[in-house]
């Protein structure tokens, strides 16, 4: 003790181990010296009482403020088993996933349809270009083949007509 009075630490020890307002008797007692000093020293006793009073005021204000802020919201406890809530939670997530799929699948199908259509258009364009090219080639070939040899163009149809008729046409 400093100058015959309790040190701040000793005072705090007394306060910390002060029995509570609800009368708990299991509070560990502060040192005997400090307790005995409090009983004989009016200054330290007064300081202790003042601090306890301040802490009591703080507690009362905290209790009152919390009770005023309490909206008395009723507590609802679960009435079903843990397994039920697990299944319910799994079903909820499954439903959410299914809805997500249902929303995105048409979009994906539409995109695939668009891709297929584009491919078909490309193929059609390619066929058209190829046919045009073949016609140009035919014209070129027909133009470049000399007239006497034009009958040779008919060789492609030789297999379909009679042999004599084709030979007679060729000798002319």
């Amino acid at each position: 003790m400093k100058q015959g009075h309790l040190s701040p630490w000793q005072m705090e020890e007394l306060i910390i181990h002060e029995p509570t307002a609800i009368g708990r008797s299991r509070a560990r007692k502060a040192s005997d010296d400090a307790r005995e000093h409090i009983e004989t020293c009016t200054l330290c006793a007064s300081n202790k009482e003042q601090l306890l009073k301040q802490l009591g005021l703080f507690r009362d204000s905290a209790v009152l403020a919390a009770s005023l802020a309490d909206r008395q919201v009723p507590i609802s406890l679960p009435t079903r088993s843990w397994a039920f809530w697990t299944l319910a939670s799994a079903a909820k997530w499954g439903l959410a996933f299914a809805l997500l799929l249902a929303a995105f699948v048409p979009i994906l199908l539409q995109q695939q349809h668009n891709v297929d259509q584009k491919a078909e258009h490309r193929v059609a364009d390619q066929i058209a270009r190829d046919n045009l090219l073949l016609e140009q080639v035919d014209e070129t070939i027909a133009g470049s083949v000399p007239q006497p040899l034009e009958s040779l163009n008919d060789l492609g149809s030789y297999e379909n007509s009679s042999t004599g008729e084709a030979a007679a046409q060729g000798s002319r």
């Binding site: 301040q54 507690r59 919390a66 802020a69 919201v73 507590i75 609802s76």
Partner: protein, 192 residues
């Protein structure tokens, strides 16, 4: 998280039937206390109501694992403390949420506590003291504030506070000493 406590320092004899057999009664008895502790810890009324609800739901689901080695109130406070910590971690990611901040109406509370039995001057002094203490408590660190509230508002024993906060007894006492030193220094600085 398993909500069992092993309070070896506090053997408690539990009289049959157990308090947890009647959850409605348990809620009636402890709801206000749990709400008060959570509200003063988080200073957000909506969050305090949510945590209080979660606390009793969790207690209901874990009632089969309660070992009766500690008092039911200590067990509930422990659950609430864990929930406060979990919510604090989640809130760090929920930056868009605005808190319904709970603030103390010091003049109103002081008037109610005085209830007209003191002179106006004494009432003003009491308001100043109350305002000073609340300001000091708000400036404490999280751990100091937690043990301060548990000791001087919820009036729990040091060993119970150590179990609830999973701190050592000496650590709890150290925090309490610092908190009290801050209160005493603040009061003397304000000359109250």
């Amino acid at each position: 998280m398993e909500e069992t406590l092993r309070c070896d320092a506090l053997p408690v004899t539990v009289s049959a039937p157990s308090e947890l057999d009647d959850m409605d009664q348990l809620v009636r008895v402890y709801r206000a206390r749990i709400f008060r502790y959570v509200l003063l810890s988080v200073r957000d009324r909506d969050l305090a109501e949510t945590v209080t609800q979660d606390c009793f739901v969790r207690a209901y689901r874990a009632r089969g694992r309660y070992r009766a080695e500690c008092s039911v109130s200590t067990w509930l406070i422990k659950i609430a403390t864990n929930l406060i910590r979990d919510h604090a971690r989640r809130r760090g990611f929920q930056f868009w949420r605005t808190a319904n901040v709970f603030s103390i109406d010091v003049p109103g509370i002081a008037d109610r506590l005085a209830s007209g039995q003191v002179s106006p001057e004494a009432g003003l002094v009491a308001q100043d003291r109350l305002r000073c203490v609340w300001r000091i408590v708000d400036s404490l660190s999280e751990n100091q504030k937690k043990v301060f509230l548990l000791r001087f508002v919820e009036e729990m024993e040091i060993s119970e506070i150590a179990e609830v906060t999973t701190m050592k007894v000496n650590t709890v006492k150290s925090h309490l000493h610092r908190a009290l030193a801050a209160v005493r220094a603040g009061m003397s600085e304000a000359r109250l």
